[in-house]
Structure formats: C-alpha cells, structure tokens
C-alpha cells in the first residue's frame, strides 16, 4: 500500500539501496535475531557497513511514511557527520510535509545539524524558535525547551 506510491519510491531510491527481508523464512532467523527484530513492518536505515543509524516499527500511511523515511535518512547523515545532506533532508521534510508527525523532529534536528556544523552560530536557537512557534504541543518542543531565545515582545494594539 505504501511502496507503490511514486513519491515514496522516488524518495527511497534517491538516497538508499532498498533491502527487504521476509521474517517468515527459516534461513533469515539468525539475521533477524542479530537485528533484535520483534514486529513488522520493521524499517531501518543502515550505512554501507551495516551499522544501524535510524529505525522505526509499525505501519504508517504513505503521507506519514515518506516524511518519516526522509527524516530517518537525515538522522543517518547527521550521525555520519554529513551535515549538508542532513540539513537538506530535514528542510525537505519541513517544506513538503510540514503537518506530518515527523515534522517537529525535523525542525528540532535541523537545529542540531546547524549546531554540529558550527557550534559558534545562533542557528540552532533560531531553528528551535521556529519549533516553538510552529509546533508548540510537540515532544520536540519539550526537548528543546531547556534552551531558547526570548519570546518576541508582543506589540500593544493602538487605540
């Protein structure tokens, strides 16, 4: 249901080699044990050494699957210190899927990527200010609440 959608296919093959494992096959059980597999669908993003960089489990409809996958690719690149690629993916999620469940996390980690690239800049706080404004009820907002720019002063209305 999810994979036939062209926007999902395009995103997947642009960034990754698709690998699929059938968990009912006896020959796969050793690998599945090593992966600590417990439920399907079980989606992982790996590097070319087979190291796991991001994962999630459970069904997502296409409109949530694509941003979650793109976000996962962004986290993978962030862990690999490929900050330009990571930022581009987080920005893509925010631009194309701004109401998706993954969007607040993309906003949060866009700030993290900017900080990792240049700890001296204020860009992390600027991204986190956007997180506060755009996704005030999100878990990501709670995570960033320890460090933030002051709220802009409210303008008083003139009579």
């Amino acid at each position: 249901m999810t994979y036939p959608q062209s926007f999902v296919i395009d995103a997947l093959v642009q960034y990754a080699i698709p690998l699929q494992i059938d968990n009912s096959q006896p020959a796969r059980q050793t690998l599945l044990h090593r992966l600590r597999h417990i439920w399907t669908p079980d989606c992982r993003v790996l590097n070319h050494n087979g190291e796991e960089l991001y994962r999630w489990e459970g069904y997502l409809p296409p409109a949530e699957f694509a941003p979650r996958m793109l976000f996962g690719f962004g986290i993978a690149y962030l862990r690999e210190k490929r900050y330009d690629n990571a930022e581009k993916l987080f920005e893509d999620v925010l631009r194309r899927f701004s109401t998706a469940i993954a969007a607040p996390e993309a906003q949060y980690y866009l700030g993290v990527a900017r900080y990792r690239r240049d700890p001296e800049s204020d860009e992390m706080l600027e991204q986190w200010a956007q997180l506060r404004a755009r996704y005030p009820g999100s878990e990501a907002r709670v995570k960033q609440s320890f460090k933030e720019l002051p709220e802009p002063a409210k303008r008083s209305s003139s009579a």
Binding site: A16, I21, N23, G50
Partner: protein, 34 residues
C-alpha cells in the same frame, strides 16, 4: 499507482556493497508476507 516499482535487494552483503559503490544508505524493510 503509476507503473513504478521498487526493485528490492534480498541479499544483505550485496545491498551493502551497492551502497558502498553508489555512495548511498541502505533502507531495510523486514516484513511478514501473511
């Protein structure tokens, strides 16, 4: 659907080797066919 389809690797090592040569990540989907 518009006729596109994903061509899935099923071989772990082959997928990692392709990822290395093409400078890509690997997207692993563990599924149950039933």
């Amino acid at each position: 659907m518009d006729g596109k389809a994903i061509v899935w690797e099923s071989d772990w090592d082959a997928a990692l080797e392709r990822a290395r040569s093409e400078n890509k990540l690997v997207f692993l989907d563990v599924f149950n066919p039933h």
